[in-house]
Amino acid sequence: MNGLRFVRTAATPALASVGYEMKSWTARAIAAVLPVQQTRLHFQRGNGARIFFLSLLISLLAGCASFQPPIQSDVSTQFKREKTAIAFFDAIGSIHYSEDVYLVLAVAQVSSDSDYSGIWDSDSVLTKVHADEFSRLGLNATAIYGEPSIALPKDALIPQKALVKAFYASRPKPEHGPAIAPAFREALRSRDYANLILVSWSGYSLHIPTLGLPPRQSVNSSFWVYDLRKEKPLWSGEFPVMQKVALPKNTGKSFLEENDLAGLKAESERLVRERYRTKNSEGKPITSIGQAMGFQPKD
């Protein structure tokens, strides 16, 4: 508890800017580094190494959690007036399962991927989910799939999806995110779209630990906001979500894949929507996608 109080009261501005989720586990980590009774920092002899490691830890965690500054308010206001296209491209197209296997004297990790490309059209489904959430934030947002008014040709979609896939495969990743295919941009501009919010993810993962620990599911969504007229990136950020999950059917594959992938479809949408909320599933405050981008006021 003392560790938590320390973070809330004495943390650096960088830490203060990150969400509560990060704070709570940061607090635990800090409490592990510093004994509880020393949470009020005293610069005494012998504390130097601890303070050094604490500073290092804070710098690392702040780096992991920080978002770019929100889009300027005059620009974000334009998003509510001008047409914004929302596009989700699934660069992965498979579920990643991993399982820890307890071998008494050793622990092994095994994994398996399940390819749903050609079976579930995640691009279309999750584009609509993101477009719905951005519309709720007040944006003049349109999904690039399923809307007769936009109806982009395949010649525009295929090269853009290829660029998103190439971005995820590249090491190191380009700083400004995936490039925008000229055909894709021109198709949107010819339909009077001023802005683009491009979304992708690193795939849905389910990890099953050993010794009765609860399985965890996770997704990590990435967002890139572009001004299509000026052809420049405006904002980018990543929003990871990890949650405990109960497997009532006792296997990951049956939980997610039975009944025409009903579990995968439901859990993916739920996890994606959760990052648009200002509180997580446990009721703890988090920085929502809208707040980080500047489309939603901070609490």
Binding site: V101, Y102, G212, L213
Partner: protein
């Protein structure tokens, strides 16, 4: 007279190990199905949906230029981490997985479907999967 039962430390150790093993065994798992032969998929009759309904999603799905779809199933999960005594399951496993994972691929199956989603060719392991 005390009612407490004192067990030898070796028995206690064995009990702890047994509890840990049991708790590990009863937990959830990935649930790969590898009973390829027993499924009895028939060329010219079985559909892609039926294969997926029985075996789950494949590890790879490939669209051929001629319109055929190939579903590739591996004969088990791949070993991606192993650590003896340290508890870090994600530790690199050195040369071991090449042997293990190669065998997993060899024990896998491949199903090819035409444009209408009907099974036209299959390759299953000679030795039934685990």
């Amino acid at each position: 007279m005390s009612s407490r039962i004192r067990l030898p430390s070796s028995v206690l150790m064995a009990l702890c190990v047994a509890v840990l093993v049991l708790s590990a065994c009863t937990g959830a798992n990935i649930g790969l199905k590898t009973d390829f032969k027993s499924a009895g998929f028939e060329i010219g009759r079985t559909t892609r949906s039926e294969v997926i309904a029985h075996l789950g999603l494949p590890q790879r799905s490939i669209e051929d230029p001629d319109g055929h779809t190939r579903l590739l199933y591996e004969g088990g999960s791949r070993l991606t981490g192993l650590c003896i005594g340290c508890g870090n399951a994600a530790a690199p496993v050195g040369a071991v997985p090449y042997l293990v994972n190669d065998q997993i691929v060899k024990n896998g199956a491949e199903y090819v479907f035409d444009k209408g989603g009907i099974l036209v060719r299959k390759t299953e392991p000679i030795v039934p999967g685990r």
